[in-house]
Amino acid sequence: MAVTDDMSPREGAGLLRIRLGRVRSSLKRYWPYYLMIAPALIWLAMFLAWPMLQGILISFQKFGLMGSQGYVGFDNYLEALQDRTVIQATINTVLITIGITISGTLLPIIPAIALAEITPRPMRSLLQSAIYAPHLLGWVIIIGIWVNVLSPIGLVNSILNGLGLIDGPIPFFSSPHWGQPLVIGLTTWKDLGFHALIYYAALMTLNTELIEAAAMDGANGLQRIRDVVIPHLMPAIRVVLLITVLGASHTFDSAFLMLNGRTAETVRTLAIFTYERGILRFDLGVASAAGVILLIFSLLLGLGVRMLPGFKRQGL
């Protein structure tokens, strides 16, 4: 701003007039452009910014059958933080986030390297497509497929039984112990091909001379991966880490579809809690408070990951 303390009011007003004039003339020249951006901005304001503001406002109000009964300060937050279900849901959310982040970021590196290794090109793209396909499927379909495969009389239990590895069928979808591993495992499986593709694209820019040089120095295959390939992949690993951690922190669909009487305790995430409490039981205040807590958790997580070494340099 050019208006400083030692400027007389008249000079200030003059500058302001010049500024306003400039705004007016640029509006005159550019108004069609602003008109073209307007619908998108109005949408973002109405259906993203406004709900977010609403959520924060609701979280400070008490709701009864007749609607809002006024502001109650942090009561809803205190109630939420003392609620056993919220505490359990927070623990579940954190554990699921950690699990998905680690396996979803690291495991796809292996198929990406494998894809770069195999030679007939058509075969490569065929396998690539097969691995990528689950990424397109919605969670209802994914769960539908795996409920069938993992059912007590399904494929996996039949194989395990045939090999004599288990005494009775494993109740994958009706056991509290299998809830979180399944959410983490199926999410990793669904996104494996997608993340592998990001790594694969990065591998295509790897200078093969570096690998040959490492081979000359007597490095074996695994050492070449560790010393040449992984360092080259670091920028891509950061991108995948960021996508994965942000997606994982607000897990809803996968866990919601696996939720039943027996698994609820271990797979209920904070996002699911806000749905159950707010939409099904209509306890808007506490549900919104939990939503705001989840929003802050996910914003902080995003910021925290960006503080890790290398992220800033990479412009993430």
């Binding site: 691995i131 969670w139 494929l155 705001v292």
Partner: protein
């Protein structure tokens, strides 16, 4: 690439095993969907239907009337995607104009919205859509995701690549915004337009949370929600009404086939979006 025989062999084994985790369950699903009700209830893994029967599909079409939610989903997918692509392209076009005052602020603001996940806003979204009278309308599902930062920024990047000389000479010939946009910007950025189109179509087709929140009228329900009640066996109240696995799996097949056909045609664009998305996360 790594010049190691053992790694090469391991790569083949791993990739074939991984693709089998997709292919074998799929065969299992298709085979189960083509058996009879009693056949699908037998223990043992079905990889080939015997006897072959379309009983499951018949039940799905006639008793569960799956075509109704299917048509709803198609309507939302097509109309919603068309509106999405139009709005995002137009906004991207305006924002590709480098000398537009305030451009960086607007783009920065749009990018900020990427940090707000829908899943944290379930309650207020419900309230806002209720207050606007949009509950139980398919319009609500069209409005969802009408504009995304991803699509706007992707189109802006594509439009910025359009050579200035072409634009300027067209302007000298008296071309207005509409002609510039339609005759030059869109055709020259076609890969970008197709990318955001196919992405949005898949997203709309798979919408789950929003119809769960907004739609309770069975006539307005979508494929994913209808499928959830089939797979979850919600309507299996009496033993007579029990939904056998062949019906569930027929539902999965009905939902999966359009996606896989779509994937076969637009694979290149769906998978190329990866590098574009990877740039900005």
């Amino acid at each position: 690439m790594l010049h190691s025989r053992s790694i090469r062999i391991g790569s083949w084994v791993l990739l074939i095993a991984l693709s089998l985790t997709m292919i074998v369950p799929l065969i299992n699903v298709i085979a189960t969907s083509l058996t009879t009700k009693t056949g699908s209830l037998q223990p043992g893994v079905i990889l080939w239907p015997d006897p072959v029967s379309v009983e499951g599909y018949y039940t799905l079409m006639n008793r569960m009337r799956i075509w109704l939610p299917f048509m709803n989903t198609m309507y939302v997918t097509i109309v919603g995607t068309a509106a999405h692509v139009l709005l995002c392209c137009v906004a991207g076009y305006a924002l590709s104009r480098e000398d537009l005052p305030g451009r960086n602020w607007i783009v920065g603001g749009i990018l900020l919205t990427l940090a707000i996940p829908t899943q944290t806003l379930l309650v207020p979204l419900f309230i806002v859509f209720r207050d606007l009278g949009l509950l139980n309308t398919l319009l609500s599902l069209i409005i969802v995701d009408l504009v995304t930062a991803f699509s706007i920024v992707l189109m802006k990047t594509y439009f910025e690549q359009v050579p200035r000389e072409i634009v300027e000479s067209a302007q000298l010939d008296g071309a207005g915004h509409f002609r510039l946009f339609w005759n030059f910007y869109l055709p020259l950025s076609l890969p970008g337009v197709i990318t955001i189109t196919v992405y949005e179509m898949v997203k709309k087709y798979n919408l789950f949370i929003h119809p769960l929140l907004f739609i309770s009228d069975p006539d307005k329900t979508t494929l994913q929600i209808a499928l959830q009640s089939v797979v979850g066996g919600e309507s299996s109240t009496s033993t007579n009404d029990f939904i056998a696995p062949n019906v569930m799996m027929a539902g999965i097949v009905v939902a999966i086939v359009p996606l896989l056909v779509f994937f076969a045609f637009f694979q290149r664009y769906l998978m190329s979006g990866v590098s574009a998305g990877g740039v900005k996360g």
